[in-house]
Amino acid sequence: MQLEVDILAKAFKNAAGESQDVLAGVKFSLRAGEVGVLFGPSGCGKSTVLKIVAGLDHDFQGKVLRPSNARIGMVFQEPRLLPWRTVEENVKLAAPLADEARLSALFDILELKAHLSHFPNELSLGLARRVALARAFAIEPDFLILDEPLASLDDALAARLREQIAILVGDRSVMTLLVTHDLDDAIRLGDRLFLLSARPAQVLDVVPICAPRSKRSEADMAAIKTKIARHTNNSAKRDA
């Protein structure tokens, strides 16, 4: 199970008909059981990479080798739940084959038990995010795609949800691709960081994080942070 991404270029046409380059050389690979993190400034094209990798956008130059018939679980930036189905139905519709015991355990971890019969409009954003996570994990994905799953949540909630994601990712050997602009999230969850430049995005560097997720000390994280800061400074200087 392996993912090979080699996007040479991707451009969007804006409303005025002008072509704008979004991606210019995004190349990386990911193995099973590994959490890859796309880390870069806001608006650099991270979500566009995810869309291409998920097979939702075929209009680009280059190629993406995805394991054939891999089950993909995706958490979009917005929860994207079906507003006319309850929380439970939303999860079960995506994962019709999931058995009850496993689902129940999943709802426990994400603390959704009390909300199963609610409609998405009755949920706070934090809860809706957790439902989206439950949906993605319920299908027992081979390939998990997380697009800023913790954005715009308050710190305490984000920290808890991050722990929950770490538990779920650590549980099984799923290949995970996470997009974030939050360095803390990137370092706490990732095994390898792919540093992206500003638009048009290209991979500046790959930073491996060797310590296991649960044993990352503050010192380790600080070291990685300085390393990354150096990179981003360098690229800023190059641009200037």
């Binding site: 869309k51 939702l56 189905r85 519709l93 409009n121 795609i145």
Partner: protein, 244 residues
């Protein structure tokens, strides 16, 4: 509230009947008498039944075709390009023209009547559903795509609930249109039905009979609207926090 508003209507009618010539506007008891005669002979139910059957058939036909064509035109640009001039033509074709042409081409048959009624309703259903399809949320389509929803499942759980308000709107306005047209179609070329009876009453200048049929027809419409259409709308929009 509904009962009160009906009572006010009845009272207004009665007072008006007392004020004007009773030959032009009979009082409620006269109409009730005509109604009883028709009901006793069974003609009332036969005619109402015939009209209702035509309404149901034309409605189902027009809605099925309208939803299918509208969805198709909303999804596929080429189909929309080809279909649009037809749609504009049909939208602006007077109901009378369609009915008369249908009778002339297909004879004074049941099929011609139902087809003519359905054709009158079809274009509005298509237009409404096309708008609904254009308003579908691409984000949810992507979600269904990533999670590999089979086509039928995606249609049932992702597309259909989004179209439901549009289908309800098309059904609502379509039903109102059909109620109006079905009587004209019956008047012009059917040997039974409420429209035919109203034609008879017109020729005999029998105003109580005319009112008896009109009012029982209106009652049927009211019952169907409140007992079927409104609960249906309430069910499909129950997920909305505050349904308007």
């Amino acid at each position: 509230m509904r009962l009160l508003s009906l009572a006010v209507f009845l009272a207004t009618w009665w007072i008006a009947a007392l004020l004007v010539d009773s030959g032009k506007l009979p009082a409620p008891p006269a109409v009730l008498a005509a109604l009883t005669v028709e009901a006793k002979s069974g003609a009332l139910f036969l005619n109402l039944g015939a009209t209702l059957a035509r309404v149901v058939l034309a409605f189902v036909l027009a809605m099925t075709l309208g939803v299918a064509i509208g969805y198709w035109m909303g999804r596929v640009r080429v189909v929309n390009r080809i279909g649009d001039p037809w749609l504009i033509l049909l939208l602006n074709l007077p109901a009378l023209v369609v009915i008369v042409l249908a009778y002339m081409w297909a004879g004074l048959t049941e099929a011609a009547a139902i087809a003519a009624i359905a054709i009158n309703k079809l274009p509005t259903a298509v237009v409404t559903l096309r708008e609904g399809t254009r308003a579908l949320d691409p984000a949810l389509d992507e979600m269904a795509n990533v999670f590999a929803f089979p086509r039928a499942k995606a249609f049932q759980h992702v597309v259909l609930p989004q179209l439901a308000p549009y289908i309800a709107a098309a059904a609502r306005s379509g039903l109102a249109l059909i109620w109006k047209i079905v009587l004209v179609a019956e008047l012009l070329g059917r040997p039974n039905g409420v429209g035919f009876e109203i034609g008879v009453a017109f020729q005999l200048f029998d105003i109580p009979l005319l009112l008896a049929y009109s009012l029982s027809f209106a009652a049927v419409v009211l019952i169907i609207e409140t007992a079927l259409v409104q609960p249906f709308e309430a069910t499909i929009s129950r997920w909305r926090p505050r349904a308007a």
